[in-house]
Structures are given as C-alpha cells and as structure tokens.
Amino acid sequence: MIKFRINDIDVECPPDTTILNAAKAYHVDIPTLCYYPDLDIKSDCRVCSIEIVGQKGLSTACSTIARQGMQVLTNSPRVLNARRTIVELILADHDANCTACAKNLKCELQNLARKLGIDSNRFPSVLKHRSPDDANPALVRNPDRCIKCGRCIDVCRNIQGIGVLEGMGRGRDVVIGPAFGRPLSDAFCTFCGQCASVCPVGAILEKDDTEPVWRALHDPRKHVVVQTAPAVRVTLGEESGDKPGVIVTGKLVAALRLLGFEKVFDTDFTADLTIIEEGNELLERIRTKGVLPMMTSCCPGWIDFAEQQYPEILPYVSTCKSPQQMFGALVKTYYAQKEKIDPADIFVVSVMPCTAKKYEAKRPEMSVDGIHPDVDVVLTTRELGKMMKQMGIDFDELADSDFDRPFGETTGAAAIFGATGGVMEAALRTVSVLLGEDKDIDLDFNAVRGLEGIKEAVVELGGIPVRVAVAHSLANARILAEQVKNGTSAYDFIEVMCCPGGCIGGGGQPYGTIAKTRVDRLEATYRVDRSMAVRKSHENPAIKEIYGEYLEKPLGERAHRLLHTHYHKRSETGIRP
C-alpha cells in the first residue's frame, strides 16, 4: 500500500492509484470537469489541479499516480486561485445563457462554477459564435457551448468505433465536429446519442420534441396515445432523484396519464410480437437453409451503422421492424379500426431510452398509409422527465397505475429487451419451442447476460445446435459485421445493440451513466422479468389474440405489410476508422 498525505489526512491506497481516486476513498472532494469514469483520462480541463509539496507547478489529480510520502494540498492558495482562474477562462469562452439551455441545472460546468462560488468573471467573453447543427431529427450540436473536453470524441471513436467527431483546427479555432464542417446527417453518425450522454454541458443534446407532444395533448381533435420502452421503467425514477435500478413501472404509467395521454400502452407488447415474427423468420431461414446468421433489427443505431458501413450484410438483417415501429403500425390500423377512430386523428408518442429512434420514426417506409408517420413523435426518457417537471408532477407521490389494453399485456421476455442479450434470450425462449425442443430453456441464460463486449453460446434446440452471439457498442458490432461480410461468421443468430449495456445505457437515458449505473439498471431489468407471470412471448394471451383477430399468422401477408421493413445502402463507400 502507498501511504501519503492529502491536506492533513493520512491516506493509504494500492499502487497505481491516481490522487483523485485515492482522495475519493477518503471523501476528499477534488473538483473535476473533463474527467468521466470509464472513459480515458483526458487531463485537459486542468480543473483538478492540486499542489504536491516540493514540486514546482501544479499537477492534475486525475492523471497523477500517488507516490509514497507525497504531501498533496487540494486547497492551498495557489490551487484555489488556479482552479478559479481556469473555470473563469472556460466561462469566458462559453455561451452561458443558461436559462435558454436544456442542460440548465444538470450542467457540470454550472455545478462547478456554483461549487467554487464563482459569480463574477474578470475575463471578458471571447466567444466566437458558430451556428448550431440541428439538421437531423435526433441530435443537436451547439458549438458555442462546447468546452472541448473531448469526451464525445472519445466515446464516438473508442467506445463506438465510429470516429465521426474530431477536434478540427488548432488553439481557439478548435471546433469539435464531423469532417469539413458537415452536419451529423451528412456524416457516418448513427445518432446513437452516446456523445449526448457524456457531454458535460449543453453542447450536444437530443432534439427537443416536447412541444409537438404538448400541442397534441391539448388538441381536442387528437387521440393521443403513448408507448414506453422496456428500458424506461427502470430508469425514469432517476429523473426524480432515485438511485439507478429502481423499478417505477406503475408510476411511469400514472405520470403519463396525468400528462393527458388518452391511452398508455406498453412497447413490451410489440416486443413480444417482434419475438414471434423474428423467431419464425429465424426458423424459416434455418429450415430453408436461407441466409444465416440472422441479425436482430430492433436497434436503429445498429441499422444506421449497417446501412452506412456494411451494406453487404443487409440481407442478413432480420426484416422485422423494431417494437416501436410495429406498435405505431398496429395503432394506426388495428387499433384505429377497433376503436373506430380515423388514423389521421391518432397521434402516437413513444418514450424511448434512445435518440436514434427519433430518426427511425421519420424513415419514409415507417408509414403504412404513406402519408402519416406510424410513430408521430419520439421522446427520450430525459424529455419525459422534463414534461413531468413542467406539469409539476411529484413523481414519488404517484399511485401506481396499469397499462391499457389491448397493448398492455406483456411478458418477462419483452421486459428484458432493454438489456444487452435480452432480445437474444427472449428469442431463444420462443425459438426453442418452435424448434420442437421439449426441455425448458433456462430462464436465466447467463451466457448472454452481462457487460462483456461480445458474448457467445451454443444452444441445443430440438436437436439443432444454434450458435448465438450478442454484441453491444458499435465497436463490437463491427467485429461481428466484419465476420459476416467476410463469410467467416461462426454464428446462426446475432443480437446487436449499439449502446453499451443495451438500451438501458441508451443515448436518451438519464445523465451520469457509468458502468455501475448499467449494472444496476440491468439488475432491475431482470427483476422485472422474474416478477412477470408469463415469461415467454408466445405464451402471451394478448399476442395470441392479435394473431387470431387480425394478423392471421406470423410472416403472413398482413404481418409482412405492417410489421416488416427493408433497408437501404446509404453510401457508395464504407469508411473504416
């Protein structure tokens, strides 16, 4: 153990511990800004500068390894002066119009300035105005707010393996963005939103779609319904201060009712539907020796990635729409007919952990009548949190409420869609039955659970060994895509989620997602599964009902028209990072 001193405390830590981490263990708070657990140490904001007695300059706590006998001072006059100066310098090159920023009260720079007691700035503003990039439906970039911490570059390049964002230029001319000043929509951005998730300020945000939702809710002509993703019920509580991993399904539904939605439905229902369609699709490919491996298609970030960079593998991707889109299609046909409402008057909102789904909803093929989108607006978990605040909803005081029929009855298989490996597990629970397997599949299929980048397993189903793989984060998806492209893939069925951890770690989830957050949210997801009476999609009575009443059969003509889609090659070239 290394023994040293921080201020007047004797501190011990294992070798190779940074001063920052050693201090944390002793509840000594050293302010940081560019530092983000799980990402590379940047050491570029210099906010965590501390004094080491005997050394000339100051050192950054995030990057300096504690050494035996060090005397570290975290609040000496030099340190306090440096810290303050650095934050003032940042603020002097920042659009500090906080009340006009969605990050207001959630902003790490704001918090830091408040913590340091900075309420004036001796430096004049040197901000050079640069236009925002809001040309795409999912994300908005505001260069005027960027503090050049580099977290977005790191996540896009190293975690996602995409590398669309780089620091362009030198010195104060540095602008972080895609090549040649292009908007994200012209670059290989998949809209996964991981950049928005880690940005400390309001430089990258999801596009705010709350206004159209309020308008629809207040429009007496509109019949407004909402669907919520599996990954929202284990995270929405965080928007009201809950720790990660609290299941708030009942309150979620109650809040949505209070907001004024006529019907509150569960995307889990169409997740179950997806399993039926996709399971049968896999079965057909196995039986007819069709194109294998089959790759899941419910993640729009993954679809964007495949269309942009691996168009060769599009034939392998399942033709199933995502649960979100299946839901929209069914509401505007089956539900509209059943309730005798003109589909043009139905306004479908979905609450998703995801930013890419804002793009997905606007894809031209996601419209059964060819005029109105099947899903009108997509809100992120964060935007729902905002709407609840606007309504003055006291989330903790809400009494639980249940989802509405016909799209409210769901299973544990659907609930785990939010987890990496969840779609795979859910699918196997049904595919095993379809393949005539009489042994019950393990309802806690650990081989595909957890945060390892690529997970693989072989399952014996009806005498057929089915080789499966699960990848999360696009860097890992790329590895599997490469194999499929080269014909060297050793799998029959692959699940891909573009966000680390799966949808529970989505780009639209509450801020502050780190490894532990994902673990807690995953744990809650599996708890939801275990609490459900029915845990296999094909055993969902409501699913049997909708096939009986309307869809006829899986992969049938109507199912094909409403629940399946096709993909486009996005560009002539595929650029590899």
């Binding site: 050491s43 210099r46 990057s63 002066n81 440096a82 004049p124 040197v126 050049k148 104060r172 540095v174």
Partner: protein, 418 residues
Amino acid sequence: MSELRIVTKRCGQINPLSIDDFLAHEGYLALEKALAMTGPAVIDEVKTAYLRGRGGAGFPTATKMMSLAVESDPVKYVVCNGDEGEPGNFKDRYLMENDPHMILEGMAIVAHATGAKNGFLYIRGEYDLALKTMKWAVEQARKRGYLGRQILGTSFEFDVEVRSGAGSYVCGEEFALIESIEGKPGRTRVKPPFPTQKGIFGKPTSISNVETFANVPVILAMTGKEYAKIGTKSSTGTKLLCLSGNVRNRGVFEVPFGRSIRSVIDDLGGGAAGDRKIRMVQLGGACGPIIPPFMLDMTIDYERFEEFESKTGAGAIIVIDDRFDLFQILLRIVRFFAHESCGKCVPCREGNAQLELMIAKFIDRRATMADLVSLESLARVMHQTSLCGLGQTCPTSIIAALRYFREDFLDRIEYPGL
C-alpha cells in the same frame, strides 16, 4: 573570447553531401568505438560527460537512455527532434545542413546503447534543405553500411526514417511529435505513461534534440571524462547559441557553458548593430525570459536559467534595441503562442487569448492596477497548470517582463483622476 567548435567542427569545412568527406574527417569513428563497447558502457560514458538535452529542457541524456534501455520490448524507437520551431533558433538547421552524418552517427550510438533498431528523424516542414540533406545522408549511410543491418560488421542493426512536419510549432513537444509521426494532429498526451514507456505506436520511445545527438559522437571520441571538463559543473560541454536581432554578427556560435551573455553578444556578436542601445534581450526563444541589459552578465548554464522558472531554452539570444516597444514585442510573442497552441488544455488555449487582450490594454494605455494583477496571476496559472511545455513556458516572457520591466507596466497604467 572565441568559440570552442567541437560539435560544429566540420560545419563549413566539409561538403555535407559527401559521406567521404565526413569519413575523411573522423566520421563514424565514434560509432565504431561505441560498437566495441557494451550498451551500459556507452550510457556510462554519456553519464560521466553529464550531457543534458540541448533542445531546451536540459534533461540528463544518460537518464533518458537508461529509461529506454531497461524496456524489454524488442521494438523501440530512437527519435531525433528536428522540429526547431522556437523563434530565434536555427542551430539544428545549421547542423543538419552542414554535418548531417554526425547526427545519424549520434542516433546510431544511442540506438546501440539502448537496444533500439528503429529511428525517426522528424524535421519541420519549413526546413526544405535540411530535409533534402538528411534524406540524402540516410541514403548514403545505408549504401555504405552505416545504417541497416550488420553495421560495421557487427550484429547491430539500425535504420532511420526521415519524417517531415507540416507547419506546427507544438510538434516539437515530445508527445505532439509522436502523434505527428503516427499521422495525427500534434496534440500532446497525458503523462504518465511517458514516451520511454509508451511512445510511437505504443512502443518505448526516446526523443532527443539534434544538437544532443550531435554531442554523442564527440563524447565517445574524447571520452566523457574529458568532455565534463568543459563548461561548468551543472552544465558540461558546449552550447550552440543562436544570435539574432539587432546585433552586428548574427549566426550560430558554439561556446562552452559558463560564458556570460554579454561576452557572447559583444565578442562574438560584435555588439549592437548600428551602435544602438540594447533595450532588452530574449533568451532561449519565444518561450524564454526577456531581460534588461544590466542582467547580461548572467552566465549561460542550466542552473542559472532555472531561476527564471524556465530552462535555457534552445540557446537563442535575440537582441532588441531601443527602437522597439516592450509591449509590441510581448504582443507578437503572445500571438505566436495563440496561433501555435494545440488547443487541448484550457489554460493555454483560453489563457493566450486573454493575455492578448490584456497586453493590448497596456499598449492602449487603458490598463488598471487590477489588470496588472490579473495579468501576473493569469501568466502564473498558465505556467503552473498547462498540460505541456508549450503552455507552461509561453507566459515566461511576460512573467520576466513583469519582474524586470515593471516600470514599463506601471507607466502604462491609467491612474484614476489623472
């Protein structure tokens, strides 16, 4: 006083494009001697000589060599930093254009001592002639067997790749240089790990200045013990000084450490040009202190310069006479750094912009005492908290000017009521 030309011995005496000329003037003899010694023995010789980095930082070369030698990775890189972008410095260009093989010889000796087989020579893109000359020298050395495999009939193998910069001063900083060699923007990296642990392509890398490498064959030839007798205790050997500005004789002069700046300016530089009065002298380069004439008796050695909280810099002595205004000079320096800052860290990126505004206030005579305090405070914070050497030393001229030309600042302050 006169020069002591041990490193620049051949410069101007041989045809730099002729390896035969080099060989006829004891070229590659030091390498031969080194190859007959073990690696540790060579490092020991350099240690006895107490050679210190000539690029400005003055880091003991033997220590750097040792850090590379102890790395077990079979792939290691010895890199020569020829990015010489420091305003006022041109000694590395001088060496590369006039005695290219000496540098290769130094690199080879260091490679042998540290177990490296690969080397890079990174030369700033503006040095067209130096690039041509060094590339030509590498070709010749390869043809004659001084680079490549089985050098001089031993099992030693070493080759050098010449790389060009593309217009970026910060690429003279070791990690920015590494990033540039890797084909990326020249932004520095977080330390640790250090280059000798993880450098180019993640491999152990040792980077030294052109002049440092040029000293290595000299040391091997005369022995470290003899070398250490030259100069001062803390600063052995000679230093290539670059005299420029308002002085009669501008150029590269090689003198032993320990001479005074004044003697260099007067005896070698011929004094101020046009019999003008010297107003100020900047030492080391744009990153160095600006001192008044009464301090010119200061001796040139690393210890003396430590007192400026900056190093000797690379050896520039920029003489500025009384036609020039201190603040216009400071403004030019700040603008240089604002333009060259890589932009990665806050104190340097944002600090230089604010310094520029503050200096402008002094130029316009709109400054207040609060501005004076702010200026000094900001300059010190930049010096203490910047991520790399550029940011840490860019305010040096201002810090020194505040100390030695304080009157000038006070004269520009707008006093209320006056």
